[in-house]
Subunit: 266 residues, 2 copies
């Protein structure tokens, strides 16, 4: 199975892309809704939670792991790669690669506080050791946009307050004349239209969910022995650590199909 | 020691009131910042977390327990009272008593989703078994206002977006012509001025932090044998399950004095 985890149900946006691009594989999803959100927590806590989430997926039969959570990807990237022997994918690196490819030199990032403070985008886009070898340095401008998560979870997608808050967060990025913007949190693509309008229509927007799924597809084409191991079929399994009616409702809406969330203690 | 817990650092507002009204006692505080916020979680999860929080306080020498978190008070009230033999105080009942005393019959409540869905205010204000005995039924109008928590934690106390969102949440309560409003979440008193302006200056506002501290003071006066057991002095202890610079900063600000938060795993 393809094992996917997120701090909550935002990672279902990655599941949706998997259904779209490579729908034949069986999905095992875990959303840590009992401890969501991760975006404002400290490094050690995020690493601990991310490892526990992965362990749950492995124990339940995952053959490859997808870290759908930007915060966990950004903060726990190295630890997860060191400790997990299965192929593991994250939403940071594919987004960085896509951004470098299309940017003319000024990349903006919006994410949670923990994601922005990790400075992972700065490090990956301009790795220090290659400093002298690079022909040009790409500038990275990152901005924490923590209120967008609760606004999306409250389904305030079209409210004027949401538009105003999006605009407020984007002012510094706009002032820095970014040409590419990474939406570094699973929730932000729900606000893509407003974000595009406020940042300017000439700015290219990158949705990490889309990029990671392309990367997984690519990987599986090149590694048929792993691809063979993945279960096929539509009996997907969705687990959360805390089940509320709101999450059940949002899950169906975001995935655009009826699913049953199952509560499990981890 | 007086043991106080909250889902996060909002409970420091209760600590502040204790310093104000009965400053001689030593405080043991625990904020479950690694799993905050509780307000959107399911009942079973909130009960489990609340019990773990109380156990931490008891293990570390608390002689009385204060549940500073409205969500935990509302959802886990009965369980905590059943399982804890120490005197235990919560922020729901004292606020209800104060509201009944001053209301002319229409009480509004704003709180987290879990608090509002618990219907605890409705139950306590109009307990079913006394239905026939009551001379008048008091009407309760409750409204979940989940976005106010992140807005306060982002320190957006005076932003126009915050004012608009407060207004939006209060519209139905205003339409119902409430005369008394319970601020049933530790974070809301930070927005008291805006709330007062938007709900109307004739509406009496109840701050549960203030009411619970009055009740504790009262209780200790009537129970000198318990009062004697409480440690005196200013060597207060503040623990959190996840320590971030933001929490450390907000803690000092909200408590209006410098304190050191200590991280502890529970």
């Amino acid at each position: 199975m393809i094992g996917i985890f997120d701090s909550g149900i935002g990672g279902l946006t990655v599941v949706k892309k998997i259904f779209e691009y490579m729908g034949k594989y069986q999905i095992l999803y875990f959303g840590d809704t009992a401890r969501t959100p991760y975006g404002g927590r400290g490094e050690a806590t995020i690493k601990k939670y991310a490892l526990e989430d992965v362990e749950f997926l492995i124990k339940n039969g995952a053959k490859i792991i997808v870290v759908a959570c930007n915060t966990a990807s950004a903060v726990a990237l190295r630890e997860l790669k060191e400790k997990i022997t299965l192929p593991i994918f994250n939403v940071v690196e594919p987004a960085v690669n896509a951004a470098i490819k299309i940017s003319r030199g000024r990349i903006g990032v919006i994410g949670t506080r923990a994601t922005v403070e990790s400075k992972i985008y700065e490090k990956l886009i301009n790795p220090p050791k290659f400093f002298r070898e690079k022909l040009r340095r790409v500038k990275v401008f990152s901005q924490a946009a923590p209120l967008l998560v609760p606004l999306v979870e409250e389904d305030w997608l079209k409210k004027p307050e949401t538009r105003r808050i999006v605009k407020k967060y984007l002012v510094p990025l706009r002032a820095n004349q970014i040409d590419t913007l990474i939406l570094a949190c699973t929730h932000y693509p729900f606000l893509r239209k407003i974000i595009q309008a406020k940042i300017g229509r000439w700015v290219k927007i990158i949705d990490p969910a889309e990029e990671v799924v392309k990367e997984i597809k690519n990987f599986l084409e090149k590694n048929p022995e792993i691809e063979k191991e993945l279960a096929r079929g539509s009996s997907h399994q969705f687990f959360v650590s805390d089940l509320t009616p709101k999450f059940q409702e949002l899950a169906g809406k975001w995935l655009d199909r009826k699913i049953k969330l199952n509560e499990v203690e981890i």
